[in-house]
Symmetry: C2
Subunit: 182 residues, 2 copies
């Protein structure tokens, strides 16, 4: 299991509401859909129609019904317009859509706004997981701003962990996990 | 449960052999002793007699017998002289003994030698966990050398993860976890 998925599966349970803030190819959406089950709710966001197409195709491949999944063609900085109920988890894959247009990348301003919207919704014990790819142009700048934002979150309210594989080549992603403590 | 203990409890099982490379007050030794049980084996190292006294006292407090525990008054760079069987886990608390003589600190040369000796003994799936306190004089230098050493470990053989609480004040420890892949 991917490390980011492990972090979510430790807290998210069947029936929970969760957010995939960067739908991309739909792998996280599928994972979340399985995790929360038909009693739960998954809201997935992407500004690129291609992402919705790919995700639809991926979900269809499994030959299951996923009434719990809502694919939303909108920027993740619109989360609070679509999601109002408390969430137990959210995942962000920051960078660009693999196989898609590499010039369309996530940007720190809207990313940070989206993270803040998730933190406003997150329940105690819930986690917002950020998978930060930073090898692309603009990636390091986004990472720096993100780290700045996350490291300033109140330690009484949130525990913020940074996970990083330090002996791999090719800039493996850095993971940030924000967990609400109280 | 402490994060370092969680990382070990995910892989170490009853009957396993493990190393506490920095006995200190004995908390890790006690934890490891419970984890491997009387069928396992714990080797604990410290150069300070005070550490052995405190650890003995801590083990006695629990009113249990711990035939699996070996307290060894020696530097952890002597591990290979005392341990020859394969191990599933090792823990290092790097810094100084809380409540002890703050001028006696772990040093990068012997620390790295000790880690290497553990890596020579570690089984597939086993973990060497390094809890790095670096707020004391000499601490940052040790950390830098450690990161340098760990980041050069072959990614085919070891997966090395760095864990760090990034929104806490007072230099919380950085955790490094080296897991043998094959």
């Amino acid at each position: 299991m991917q490390f980011s998925h492990r972090l979510l599966s430790e807290t998210v349970q069947s029936g929970d509401t969760v957010i995939d803030a960067t739908m991309g190819n739909g792998h996280d959406t599928l994972f979340l859909a399985e995790l929360v089950g038909t009693q739960g709710m998954v809201y997935s966001f992407d500004i690129q129609p291609l992402a919705l197409e790919k995700t639809h195709a991926l979900l269809d491949q499994s030959h299951k019904k996923f009434p719990q999944v809502n694919l939303i063609e909108a920027s993740h900085d619109q989360i609070s317009k679509f999601v109002t109920s408390p969430i137990m988890g959210a995942i962000f894959n920051l960078g660009y859509l693999p196989g898609g247009d590499k010039t369309i990348i996530t940007k720190s301003t809207s990313t940070i706004s989206a993270i803040q919207q998730c933190l406003n919704l997150i329940e105690i014990g819930g986690r917002v997981v950020l998978v930060c790819y930073y090898g692309h142009p603009g990636g390091r700048e986004e990472l720096t701003r993100l780290l700045e934002f996350v490291s300033k979150l109140d330690q009484k309210e949130f525990s913020c962990l940074r996970y990083e594989f330090i002996n791999q080549i090719n800039n493996p992603p850095i993971l940030l996990c924000i967990e609400r403590k109280k």
